[in-house]
Amino acid sequence: MNWVFLGVAGIIAFLSLYPSFFLLYGSFTDAPLGVPGHFTLNNYIQAYSDPEAYRLILTSFIFGIGASGLSVILALTLAWITIRTNAPFRKLFELTAIVPNIMPPILISISWVLLLNPNNGLINAILMQWFGLESGLFNIYSIPGLIFVEGLILTPLAFLIIAAAMKSMDPALEESAKTLGSGEFGVATRITFPLMRPAVLAAGTLNFVRAVESFDTPAIIALPARIEVFTTKIWREALGSFPTNHNLAATYGVGILVIALVFVYLYRRFTSQVESFSTVTGKGFRPHQIDLGGWRTLASAVAFILLTLMVILPFMVLLLMSVLPYYHVPTWETWKNLTLDNFRYIADNDRVYRAFGNSLFLAIVGASLCMLLASLTSYITVRTKIAARGLLEGLVFIPWAFPGTALALGLLWAYVDFPIPVYATIWIIMIAYVTRFLPYGLRAVSSTIIQIHRELEEASIVCGAGFLATFRRILIPMMRPGVVAGWIILATIFMREFSASLFLYSPGSEPLGPLLYFLYLDGMRGRVAAIGLVISLISIILIAIAQRLSRWDTK
């Protein structure tokens, strides 16, 4: 047992501390990547004595708070309608609220650029025609535009957290309020929403961190709009311009890491409350359903509008984009020129082919490795009484907070001279994925471990099985629902990961995320859309296979 613990602790320590150390190293040295240098503070002086740095910190905060705030409001509305009310089609809405998870965020951003750019965004074009306007009403290339799109992208995650809390809420308090004469809406505003506060704060802080560290939406919207946030600055310094300055990029990386650490710490404090809340589920009650009466249809309409924004519009634009020979505002002429060339390109082009292969490999092998590590880790932290297990929890804290871009920079510095040739191979990307997303796997698996009764393990050990045999034959099968759920989330994220991959890939190991971005930069939007649709399809297939396998021998 002890050596398993040591092994797991060693791996996690290595995964999280090694790149952290090298990120710091990069920020304190004066030589480019791969060249030995001297200690210097100049990077920090250069980065943080520049007044622009404070503007970009401020902009990052406005962006993060705006996007996470919007996502929480949307998620709360959607969760309330689908879980607590009797609005028609609510089950369908609940299901589709998580669909955007399979669509690469970068494609959602691109779709919104095509819908809302000031000159010929489809929505702007239609409004201009209808109302005879001179110029477009909306401008996606702005801070509100950036917040709007990122908010939509982050909503599914907030929905998952908030919906789970809402489902497990104790109805007794609401019932007391009702008995005391409150109306339905009084109960909602005075009891339900305050009770949801821990979940809302948890979703809010997590999404704040995700927004601040994301590069998908900023790459598509902020860069052309001259809006500078942390990630665009890192991109500009590390890759975007010539001559590059990896040291300065690492310095900004340290900045974003510090911000993320603070907020993830807050998030963990909020979630510890959420989790103590959710244990109530064991009692087997159901929150009562609110009869909206005549407002039922309105509630469904609101949910439908939200889903149109999150799923239907971006999807329609992608579909349209994928069959146009070159992208333009469609006219009647357009329908004659529709083409499948963009899909043919996927089959013909070996760069695309290779990227699909790389991403599938990363998704399947990466998600499996990550879930194995997550299962062992969460078993040790939840089940065993090893004194140092708190240390393990502390170590997992770093990946929680590691922004993809900062992690990638740390890994570049860490592996450029590493004795095992990992640099510029697919394995450096794999290491980044497993490190960065280990917490997602942990979250999925810990909740199932708590529920497994200890007697089963004890029986196995009494019958002479060692720890590994027990783990493999008793625990893994029992943990299967959590493992599969985690695997699905990870595999779909890995299929399209972008922020870390962009810094780490080499042309031979290029996954789909960077490929999509480069094709977009090269103006090949039709191809981007076609590939995006195929990625979504593959994600759905992966989910179906995983779910089938998980039920394999329970049939």
């Binding site: 480019p32 290339y141 801070i143 010539f242 001559p243 510029a424």
Partner: protein, 342 residues
């Protein structure tokens, strides 16, 4: 008569000897290249053009080829990064003059005298980089559906007229090296004083800034921003797909040469050489011209209207330090960040 025949037969023998030598070398090289498995090329030439050349190359030689396309800036950065780290994965770099010169100075190229170089004009051959196989010409391209030809700008000076505000797109001169050079070379067209003022006025137009010249043109095709500073060849390339583009017939434009070089630590050196031989050969040059490129062959023009009338001056070459300085200078002019909308 007999003298003539003797001369002719000597000539014929010599020709066949040279030809057989060339073919012999070629065959040996190709065989060695095949043993290496493949050739890896990083470059900024458009993927579709390289895709066609690649098919022809594979058909002729049977050698597998991998191509990674990115902007000249990214190609240079990646190549130098890999090389510095001692792990270069590429055999060939294929991009603009200036980045090629910088990489040459960094010492990443091997000298290779390709037999195919003989077909290029003498003045188009760089002693270190070999033939300047094509020129790229930066001009002003616009969307005819959005801007009527009569309303289109007629000169570079017209571009900064208020009526085009919000309609202009160009690559980010602080990020994209060719555009840095273009801005830095404007003095060659209009004199220093006028150029300095022009650059400030151009920046004040707040053009949409994109990654490189291709996405600039692409935004013109969509009509999103109807006027771009970009390669004029895109008028033909996107025109083929039905996009309504034209270019402004400027008196003089700015151009840049393109070269290809062999990595001196190439993982597949023979494959690299075989690729250079094929790439500089007639077949591939003709493919490129047909696809819209201005190749350096007498009388061969791309199928672009008035292509033969285009005149251009060469852009200024900058070194690493020069780029760093210009990046700083242009950041102040072009990247005034706003916390609100641009």
């Amino acid at each position: 008569m007999s003298k003539k025949w003797t001369r002719l037969s000597v000539f014929a023998a010599a020709f066949f000897f040279v030809a057989s030598q060339a073919w012999g070398q070629d065959a040996k090289l190709v065989a060695a290249a095949k043993k290496e498995g493949k050739v890896v090329v990083y470059g900024s030439l458009e993927s579709d053009t390289v895709g066609t050349i690649k098919k022809a190359f594979q058909k002729k030689t049977g050698i597998e080829m991998e191509y990674w396309r990115a902007s000249a800036t990214k190609v240079m950065d990646r190549a130098m990064g890999e090389y510095r780290a001692g792990k270069p994965l590429f055999d060939i770099i294929l991009t603009n003059d200036n980045p090629m010169q910088i990489m040459l100075k960094e010492g990443i190229f091997a000298k290779y005298n390709s037999p195919s170089a003989a077909d290029f004009p003498k003045d188009a051959i760089d002693p270190n980089l070999g033939p300047r196989y094509r020129n790229v010409i930066v001009g002003v391209v616009y969307n005819k559906n959005v801007i009527k030809p009569a309303d289109a700008p007629k000169s570079l000076e017209d571009l900064i007229s208020p009526k085009y505000k919000g309609k202009l797109v160009m690559p980010d001169p602080t990020q994209h090296t060719t555009t840095t050079q273009w801005v830095a070379s404007l003095f060659k067209l209009m004199g220093k004083e006028k150029a300095d003022k022009y650059i400030r006025d151009l920046a004040a137009m707040k053009p949409i800034l994109v990654e490189s010249l291709l996405p600039a043109a692409e935004r013109v095709t969509t009509g999103e921003t109807p006027i771009a500073i970009t390669y004029v060849k895109y008028v033909f390339i996107f025109g083929q797909k039905g996009a309504p583009l034209d270019y402004v017939r400027l008196g003089k434009m700015m151009g840049d040469g393109h070269y290809l070089g062999l990595n001196n630590k190439a993982p597949h050196p023979n494959g690299g050489k075989a690729f250079i031989d094929y790439f500089l050969d007639d077949e591939s040059m003709n493919i490129m011209a047909k696809m819209g490129e201005f190749v350096n062959r007498k009388g061969v023009y791309p199928p672009l209207p008035d292509a033969d009338k285009i005149q251009f001056v060469e852009m200024l070459d900058l070194d690493k330090k020069g780029f760093a300085e210009k990046k700083k200078e242009y950041s102040k002019l072009f990247l005034k960040y706003s916390s609100a909308s641009p």
